[in-house]
């Protein structure tokens, strides 16, 4: 399964030691991303999607730690590298785009200086060549008049333009994988559409793979090739995006799809999943979704289901075997 994959995550576990015991925020997550593929990771708050992304780039803040599992990039294990080696991979091989473009940029430096710094850290270029590359990046992400904007500070850009600069930074060293964590959540719809279009175009042009982490199923629907749905730290369903949206197998995915209002379907009431995602201190036994699941039976309370082939997707649900 992992052959030919650019990124392979196997049995990832992210845990936080606390006085009350160890909290497991990501539990046994396995996924792969092929070169040039966009994998959407979707889930509600607390599902562990951002931590999964942070684990891949090695940015889990202590006391959080990777408790188990392996992460490999192009066949090479990266989760056990020393910090210095990991730092070289970050930026060079894996780029990152976060939700808030203002906190991703240094407010005291011009964006040109920040771009050149990133470029010269990862690529051996002369200052003049680095500057040329920075200008090229700015025009590639659609910043008008890059020559003039080069010497501007982050506060002089609008939210959408700032996010473009962050994407330019992520692309600076031509990484093979970009981790995009809620890249459009802080933006208005019309700007959001521009950023989605930009990400898609860049992936197509450069063959960059993207791990797109978001709570917005609409963004996933438009952008991703495959999607992994997370719940309480686990992947409950993974498959091609159209299949997961139109033929979801896991009861949680079905409920989630039904609860999203759309601009085309007219309905009196929305599907409703009663209750809320469990807290990390009280993850239910067996399948973590069973207390909210309308189809739960004995086995769901006892045994934890692994991902199993179900239709065109893979679903972690005992109903598949029933």
């Amino acid at each position: 399964m992992t052959a030919g994959a650019l990124l392979a995550v196997e049995g990832l576990r992210v845990e936080f030691p606390t006085r009350q015991g160890t909290l497991v925020a990501v539990d046994g997550v396995s996924l792969t991303i092929a070169p040039g593929e966009v994998l959407g990771v979707v889930g509600e708050s607390g599902a562990g999607k951002s931590l999964t992304g942070a684990a891949v780039i090695g940015l889990i803040d202590p006391p959080g730690r990777i408790g188990a599992g392996e992460i490999s990039l192009a066949g090479r294990r990266i989760d056990n590298l020393p910090p210095e080696a990991l730092r070289r991979i970050r930026g060079r091989e894996i780029g990152a785009v976060f939700q808030d473009p203002l906190t991703s940029l240094n407010p005291l430096y011009t964006i040109g200086r920040q771009l050149i710094e990133t470029i010269t850290t990862h690529l051996e270029l002369t200052p003049a060549a680095a500057r040329a590359r920075a200008l090229e990046l700015l025009s590639e992400v659609g910043i008008p008049a890059p020559g003039r904007r080069f010497n501007h500070y982050p506060h002089q850009f609008s939210g959408g333009m700032r996010q473009r600069v962050v994407i330019a930074l992520a692309l600076a060293a031509k990484p093979r994988l970009i981790i995009a964590d809620e890249p459009t959540t802080a933006l208005d719809v019309s700007i959001q559409a521009q950023i989605i279009a930009l990400l898609k175009r860049l992936c197509r042009d450069h063959g960059t793979a993207v791990m797109l982490i978001t709570h917005d199923m609409g963004v996933i629907a438009e952008t991703a090739d495959r999607v992994a749905v997370m719940y309480a730290g686990r992947i409950v369903e993974v498959g091609p995006v159209a299949e997961v949206i139109h033929r979801p197998q896991h009861p949680y995915t079905r409920g989630l799809m039904g609860s999203i209002p759309t601009i085309v379907a007219e309905r009196e009431t929305l599907e409703q999943i009663d209750g809320a995602m469990p807290r990390l201190t009280a993850i239910p036994s067996g399948c973590p979704f069973h207390p909210r699941c309308p189809h739960a039976f004995d086995r769901c309370r006892r045994d934890r289901p692994e991902l199993m082939a179900a239709g065109a997707t893979r679903s972690a649900c005992w109903l598949v075997l029933k």
Binding site: V189, A193, G218, H246, P261, T262
Partner: protein, 368 residues
Amino acid sequence: MNNLSADAAPLVELIDEARHFDVSPPWLNRVLERKPRALLKAVDGVSFTIAKGETLGLVGESGCGKSTVARLIVGLYRPTRGEVRYAGRRIDANAADPAARRNMQMIFQDPYASLNPRWRVADIVAEPLRAGRGSERGPARAFEARVASLLEQVGLARADGAKFPHQFSGGQRQRVSIARALAGNPAFLVCDEPTSALDVSVQAQVLNLMRRLQRELDLTYLFISHNLAVVHHIANRVGVMYLGRIVELAPTQRLFTHPQHPYTRMLLEAVPDLAKTGKPRTAVAGEVPNPLEPPPGCTFHPRCPYAAERCRRELPLLKPVPHAPLGAGEVACHAVEEERLPAAVVKTDELIWRRPQVGRESGRADRL
């Protein structure tokens, strides 16, 4: 359902409402640096009516003035000009007698910030009751039965009254806000992004609750959101705001199938939606201009593909859509008025898209 507002007398009426904020630099800077006064026209001439039992949705991007409209209606801001009427009586912050404002309540976006963390839920919910009696700190016991029935009405347990807000999840907190808003038996609720801070499955619970309460208590809603899909789900009529003005106001179905204003069309094109998997989208150009220096004429003209000379000069007013059936909506656009616009595209292939039904084998939707 769509013609609610056409015949019935309006419950709420906004007449040419405006609110300008003075955001000038301090006097010394103006003198020394020769900086002019700066006026932010957050809301600039908004008029609409809401009929009893109706839900009016207000959508727009950040900074378009939709939340300012909400605050003007409930009297949290003083209007620069214009008036707000409730059942025919003037109630805005400039009115002499704001007593009719008792019939309205507001639900805020952030259920974490809008509940006092040091009060028990029963006290929070009882506060409007105490205020209504004029006794600031009456014992909560006097309202025990009423508070319990309110909590049950919004899907919480009677025993939850003894808890503090931090013991609840976001969705439950928003239920507490709704219970508090309902305490004084209001007829009209102003809901400012009530589900924007919630996860989708919780958002569905709150939206369903709001619909049920509207049916049971005959409530009227002004529902403000940046999320078009949510507004599509809950509203009878929708107003689209851009830079402090309403650019289009139409019954919900009409607006989403026959959008008129170029800005509405652009928004509908831009919104990411489940039904659009793998569909190519038209790129949207430009950004919202600086509201301190709005463009002359129609404020949308720099981004509008149909802008003509007149659009750059003359501000369009909200007028009924030409050749459309009565009550089919109003739009503020010269191009629509002059019929320079191509007819709005109704995407029938998207309209027949149905969502998968849960738990029924036969309910599987066909793929497009």
